[in-house]
């Protein structure tokens, strides 16, 4: 399979950068995921082939890192931290609210394909707990109200 011209060019640079070809694995997986939306079996096989790795070796890496996804996510992937600092600042009711508001369980996608939900470990934003990450954007000191408003705003952005 082929990726976009821009991503192919980026992969070229990765492959030239590392003395060991396989070192390019994680960045390639991340960028491929951003472009395709998830690491489909097809993507995994393609990247394994390019790096002379077996599929199970690639899966080994993917299954270690929770930010590498082996199933599709929504357009907006909402990640709610429930680790200690956030938990002390009411992250659990926040997470419950996200489930109710979106009507899905963690790992599921809303019917319109817009949202998916994930409970995550520390996002490194303890000073502003509770923290939520939507795709690559951080949202600090979240409350159920702020989260609800965020979801509504994102829904309206729909083209």
């Amino acid at each position: 399979m082929r990726f976009s011209a821009q991503l192919e060019a980026r992969f070229e640079r990765f492959l030239a950068r590392y003395p060991q070809r396989r070192s390019a694995l994680i960045p390639m997986l991340l960028y491929a995921q951003d472009e395709v939306g998830w690491l489909s079996p097809e993507v995994i096989a393609e990247i394994a082939g390019r790096l002379d790795l077996s599929v199970v070796e690639v899966e080994s890496v993917i299954s270690y890192y929770s930010m590498l996804r082996r199933r599709p996510a929504g357009k907006y992937h909402i990640q709610v931290c429930t680790n200690i600092s956030c938990m002390l600042r009411e992250a659990e009711p926040l997470f419950e609210h996200a489930r109710e508001k979106l009507g899905i369980e963690p790992g599921e996608i809303t019917e319109d394909g817009l949202f998916s939900l994930e409970e995550v470990e520390c996002l490194g934003a303890c000073s502003w707990a509770p923290a939520v990450q939507v795709n690559y954007d951080f949202h600090h000191e979240m409350t159920p109200e702020k989260l609800g408003a965020l979801v509504d705003r994102l829904r309206e952005k729909r083209p």
Binding site: S54, V56, E59, S60, S63, Y64
Partner: protein, 716 residues
């Protein structure tokens, strides 16, 4: 205490007799530091350190036997046992499990873990490998031996934390070389063997170390026997030339022994059909015909085995030459050993100094591999070549007409057209110039690289034979240092069959039959007059048998009619084998023979290393080849002297060039190099007959057809 710089603490301690326990540490594999069993106290270090990753240093003070260390070991074991099912009574590993042993020695007698253990169901990954996830302690040994040792990378760790598992490469299945290394290296019962699982407890088995009966590498396999059945093969004590290595054949392809089609009683042709007979009837039938033919002065033809031991090969040629008065004797030649020994001797070097052993491949600075595909045909030698590159920075040069897996380890690879090995050798030896077309530039570069090496070890397949070997040695002599050689032949005693003189032109030890001086020596020993001229080669014998020029053809442990056609009924055909092969089906008398695993004796691997084979099983019906040859001779009225394996071996030691080896090493189960002193006069007829069967990892000539496990893996 002192240790060389760079020595790991765990190794230094072991050498000093101090055991530091470890699961994940495995000599020869990359360091993992995953199991945390080897934690020790090092003075001035703030916390416990892993002895498997810390090298020794000057003035270092290490404590391995303190309450803190004991606590750490106890805690690690308690942690490993949280999810480990304590199903030792039904676990194959029970009794030889490293986790059991560690808990016994270092563990606590209680557990604080009261929660539910995480369970996953067992999985069948292939006919030979089964996986029981909950037993796994995540030492990564299997993953590393598959990646690093085998260069297969069929296993990987998937998931993380408490959900971590080992995963196979082909969606729940293993697509790999099926070597089973992962099973033997597993310290617990997470990976178990398809043939052995749930069969027996290790303490009720009888262990018989012998040599694998398949390829020419001569790996030691220790057969585990119970109730006269072999249940598994392995080399757990790492005592053979193969260390921990065995391929699928050494580990699993013993099952032909118990194949339902195994011949158990003699068959004699009556009214066109082979019907069961007693041994007495069958032997009488053979002897009566042999006597009659001898009296008539008819010619005999004899075809010997690549599998049976040296004693069988030696006695068979003695029977042929001294008893049946013929040099019509041959075998399926899979490497031109005679030509190699002759070429070395004729070039003025002592063959014994230039014939390399299998373990020399582990230390050679540079190896040149021409032809063959050792990954498939010589798995141990391939393992040694890989290991040499990986651990000793050895350089590997590969010449082949096709892509082979060992190119992945190669410093340089040269692809040539099939059949051009001879031209390449002349070029390498400098006898032709490249002629400068750009296509030959790779040849130039390759030659330059080889010329920069010294002490090259050349390994070659049947692509090089006859005169080609003389050209190869000529090239080797242009290089610096001591160039050494390994000729690759197919089966466990291909080399021995050749050394013992299963050749129409050679007495044992490559002495030409025309050489009256050598002949006189054997004549004095055997008290006969030997035929003075070379006999018929294998294909010539079959042709002669077909048109009635041979009175009888006697085939011992070979299946020539798989490849050649014989006009049935044209001469008396006696076949001695384990199965009703293509050849046996045409026989007049079929004699059921014991397998290599059912007899004592010796075999010589393709590198010329002599090793003992031991009887693991008794036979009920079949008899040892040696015994059958002796009985036929006796019934025919021919005296061969004592025909016990030890007596015959004594004669081999006395009479065969290179076989006068020290007995101590051999008796102790070591591989002893044979050392042919000369061989310049060797008879070199018919190199065209030299051809490899080109077996794969999952085939083994005729024998391989009768291994259900190999068949299952081929279909997997």
């Amino acid at each position: 205490m002192t240790a060389a710089p760079g020595t790991l603490l765990i190794e230094a301690a072991r050498r000093a007799g101090i055991e530091i326990p470890a699961f994940c540490y495995y000599p020869g594999l990359s360091l993992q530091a995953a199991c945390r069993m080897c934690l020790v106290e090092i003075e001035k270090a703030p916390k416990l350190q892993t002895a498997c990753t810390v090298p020794v240093s000057e003035g270092m003070v290490v404590r391995t036997n303190t309450p803190k260390v004991h606590d750490a070991r106890r805690s690690m074991l308690e942690f490993l046992l949280t999810n480990h099912p304590l199903d030792c009574p039904v676990c194959d590993k029970g009794g030889e499990c490293e986790l059991q042993d560690m808990v016994f020695r270092y563990g606590a007698s209680f557990s604080r873990f009261r929660e539910e253990k995480r369970h996953t169901d067992e999985e069948k990954w292939s006919p030979v490998v089964y996986y029981d996830g909950p037993r796994c302690i995540l030492c990564y040994r299997c993953v590393r031996v598959c990646n690093e040792g085998m260069d297969v990378s069929a296993l990987a760790i998937v998931n993380r934390g408490g959900r971590t598992l080992i995963g196979p490469n082909a969606g729940g299945h293993l697509d790999c070389e099926q070597c089973g290394m992962c099973i033997d290296i597993c310290p617990v019962g997470a990976l178990t063997s398809g043939s052995y699982r749930h069969q027996a407890r290790p303490w009720e088995l009888h262990y018989v170390p012998t040599i694998c009966t398949h390829c020419g590498d001569g790996c030691k396999t220790t057969l585990s026997v119970r109730n006269n059945r072999v249940l598994r093969g392995n080399n757990r004590d790492q005592s053979g030339i193969n260390g921990e290595f065995l391929c699928i054949k050494g580990r699993y392809a013993f099952d032909f022994l118990h194949h339902p089609e195994r011949l158990t009683q003699p068959l004699v042709r009556q009214e066109g059909k082979l019907v069961p007979a007693t041994w007495a009837q069958a032997l009488r039938a053979v002897a009566a015909r042999f006597r009659q033919l001898l009296e008539q002065g008819s010619a005999f033809g004899i075809i010997g085995s690549n599998h049976a031991g040296n004693e069988t090969a030696y006695l068979l040629q003695k029977f042929a030459r001294a008893g049946l008065r013929t040099n019509n004797i041959d075998h399926h030649r899979t490497a031109d050993y005679a030509a190699l020994i002759a070429a070395l001797a004729r070039s003025g070097v002592r063959p014994a100094d230039r014939l390399a052993g299998s373990r020399d491949l582990l230390t050679a600075r540079a190896v040149l591999l021409i032809g063959n595909n050792p990954t498939e045909q010589h798995p141990l030698l391939a393992w040694n070549m890989r290991t040499n590159v990986r651990l000793n920075k050895g350089r590997l040069y590969v010449v082949n007409h096709r892509a082979i897996k060992l190119e992945r380890q190669a410093t340089a690879t040269l692809r040539i057209e099939e059949g051009r090995a001879g031209a390449l050798l002349d070029f390498l030896a400098g006898q032709t110039t490249a002629g400068q077309p750009p296509a030959l530039q790779p040849w130039n570069e390759f030659r330059d690289r080889l010329r920069a090496e010294s002490d090259l070890l050349v390994v070659f397949g049947d692509e090089i034979k006859g005169d080609g070997i003389a050209r190869l040695v000529a090239f080797g002599n242009t290089l610096g240092g001591v160039t050494r050689y390994i000729a690759l032949g197919d089966y466990n005693n291909s080399r021995g069959a050749s050394d013992m003189g299963l050749l129409p032109g050679s007495l044992p030890g490559y002495a030409p039959v025309e050489d009256a001086v050598v002949r006189a020596r054997f004549e004095a020993e055997w008290n006969v007059t030997l035929p003075p001229g070379p006999g018929l080669a294998l294909d010539e014998m079959i042709a002669a048998a077909g048109d009635g020029r041979l009175g009888a053809l006697y085939v011992v442990g070979a299946n020539p009619l798989k490849r050649y056609n014989l006009n049935a009924g044209s001469s008396f055909l006696v076949v001695q084998d384990m199965f009703l092969t293509e050849t046996a089906r045409q026989a007049d008398v079929v004699l059921p023979a014991a397998a290599v695993y059912e007899v004592n004796g010796t075999v010589t691997n393709t590198c010329g290393e002599l090793q003992r084979i031991r009887q693991a099983l008794g036979t009920n019906g079949p008899r040892a080849d040696l015994e059958i040859i002796g009985l036929i001779a006796k019934e025919t009225g021919i005296s061969l002297g004592p025909v016990g394996s030890e007596e015959v071996f004594d004669e081999i030691r006395r009479l065969v060039n290179g076989y006068n080896v020290a007995m101590a090493g051999l008796a102790a189960g070591e591989a002893v190099p044979t050392a042919p002193a000369d061989g310049r006069d060797a008879s070199l007829g018919r190199p065209d007959l030299v051809h490899s069967s080109g077996d794969t990892l999952f085939t083994s000539g005729t024998l391989g057809q009768y291994s259900d496990m190999l068949e299952a893996v081929r279909r997997h």
